[in-house]
């Protein structure tokens, strides 16, 4: 935890909020462009193959995790392109950030499949 705090402070001191938000926005936009068709395809597959909904929702969860991974991956690339030589470790912070969001996606996905799907399909 101490290392995380140290890396974050070093990172924000070196890059600043503006560069971070700009890189994150870029990652979000490009990842969304890539994943819109993926999610539409999965949604349409679910509507046609409703009897396989649990398997397909599992794919949706994996898709959301991949989406979060790509956002973070592109954010990191943008940050690295902004400063080719840097003293902080954005890859470390981004890895943690990606793992947290992917973990949350997995958690909410499981809750959705176990609790919400049986309630919704009445």
């Amino acid at each position: 935890m101490n290392r995380l705090k140290y890396e974050w402070l070093t990172f924000i001191k070196e890059y600043g909020w503006k560069a971070l938000l700009d890189a994150f926005f870029g990652g979000l936009v490009f990842s969304t462009i890539v994943f819109i068709p993926v999610f539409v395809i999965l949604g349409e597959l679910i509507s046609v193959f409703m009897h396989l909904k649990y398997y397909l929702f599992a794919l949706v969860v994996l898709g959301v995790m991949a989406y979060f991974f790509l956002i973070n991956k592109l954010t990191l690339q943008a940050l690295q392109m902004k400063k080719k030589e840097h003293v902080s470790h954005p890859e470390y912070l981004i890895r943690i950030h990606a793992l947290v969001w992917m973990g949350l996606a997995l958690l909410f996905g499981i809750i959705f499949m176990v609790i919400l799907i049986p309630i919704l399909w009445v």
Binding site: D22, A23, F25, G26, G27, V29, F30, I33, I36, P37, V40, I41, E44, L45, S47, V48, F49, M50, H51, K53, L74, Q77, A78, M81, K82, L120, W121, V122
Partner: protein
């Protein structure tokens, strides 16, 4: 952002057109329909009868729903070919003129009225042997169809109750179920059996003019009047009515509650009736079995045909039901049971004789369950 745009610009230039083409395939709707297997919905989750609450029910009754996609995208249409369970075809008839939202409205109207029919039939069946059970219902004529040439199309909703129309010479015409003067029903009657439909009444009393004042009542109770004009080509108003028996909750005992459902259509009528019957009966008729089925229920207790037989049979098979009731009213190829047997053979389902049970009425289903042992 700029760094990423600069880096990916060559890819963006190359992939832009394929991307737009892909999105077109994914989003552009076509005038077709797809029927695909859906699932089972336990009736106990939508209807609850406050009677015999201590009674232990060991099995379950489930309605069977399919996924009906109206106006799918090209992509959905193409992938549907890769499943042996799905069926695709061109939209025809009035469904071609209706929007997807309107088709859904009709479907939910069908569902709501089929539950009322199920309650009426089950309560009437039980009230013959149990005086605690009493059913009361009203007869209402509701808007069931609208043509594109109907005046005030957006003001009139599916399910609105038809109250009256001021016909020729100021004659107030009520729906056939609410006639204050039976004599003029007979006057207008064109049928040999003495039954006059609302459409026949309208045709008889609305001849001299093109425009007549129709009164309707919305579900909220709000009444409204609109001037409907006949279509110049076919001299019709462009509205279809259907007469329903709707349960009068206040005078019905025991009380029941209905929960909202996102599944529409009337095909759960028979299974809803069986479930309600079981709630009211002394004995548990499920025998611990997973009972599912399909078929509309008519007010006289007979069962009516449904669509999407192949998908419903596939749904039952995939969900491993113990019993699946299906309408069997004739031996023709269009009969639901005959079609279901053909579907089982096509899908390679060999053990269908063990669970696919043909029925023509509620009594048939009850008689079959009566033969089962715990």
């Amino acid at each position: 952002m700029n760094e990423l745009t600069e880096k990916f610009w060559p890819y963006i230039k190359v992939l832009l057109l394929p991307y737009v083409a892909l999105m077109f395939l994914l989003l552009y709707p076509i005038d077709y329909y797809i029927d695909a297997p859906g699932g089972l919905a336990e009736v106990s989750r939508t209807i609850d009868v406050e009677y015999n609450t201590d009674k232990e029910i060991s099995g379950s009754f489930s309605t069977t729903y399919i996924v009906a996609i109206n106006r799918p995208s090209f992509f959905e249409f193409i992938v549907s070919y890769f499943s042996k369970y799905t069926e695709a075809g061109k939209l025809t008839g009035s469904y071609l003129d209706y929007s997807n939202d309107e088709i859904a409205e009709i479907s939910y109207l069908d569902k709501a009225t089929s539950i009322d029919a199920a309650i009426i039939v089950a309560y009437e069946a039980i009230s013959a042997i149990n005086p605690d059970v009493h059913i009361a219902y009203d007869t209402k004529t509701l808007v069931f169809g609208k043509s594109i040439y109907l005046s005030f199309y957006d003001s009139i909703s599916f399910g609105d109750e038809f109250i009256s129309v001021i016909g020729d010479e100021g004659h107030v015409v009520y729906p056939n179920n609410n006639q204050p003067n039976p004599e003029y029903v007979l006057e207008a009657d064109t049928n040999i059996d003495g039954i006059c439909t609302t459409s026949e009444l309208l045709a008889y009393y609305c001849q001299d003019s093109d425009t007549y004042a129709f009164s309707f009542k919305k579900e909220s109770g709000e009444e409204y009047t609109v001037e409907l004009t006949k279509n110049a080509e076919n001299a019709r108003f462009g509205i279809t009515f259907k007469t329903y028996y709707l349960v009068n909750d206040e005078d019905t005992t025991p009380a029941y509650t209905e929960a909202n459902s996102n599944i529409g259509g009337p095909s759960g009528g028979l299974l809803s009736t069986l479930y309600i019957y079981n709630m009211l009966a002394e004995e548990d008729i499920t025998h611990g079995l997973k009972i599912a089925g399909t078929g509309t229920i008519l007010y006289d207790g007979s069962v009516g045909y449904i669509g999407g037989v192949k998908q419903k049979v596939a749904t039952a098979y995939l969900n491993h039901v113990d019993v699946f009731f299906i309408p069997h009213l004739a031996d023709s190829a269009s009969d639901n049971y005959v079609a279901a047997v053909a579907a089982c053979k096509e899908l390679g389902i060999d053990d269908y004789e063990e669970w696919l049970i043909p029925v023509a009425s509620l009594s048939d289903a009850l008689a079959y369950l009566d033969t089962l042992e715990d």
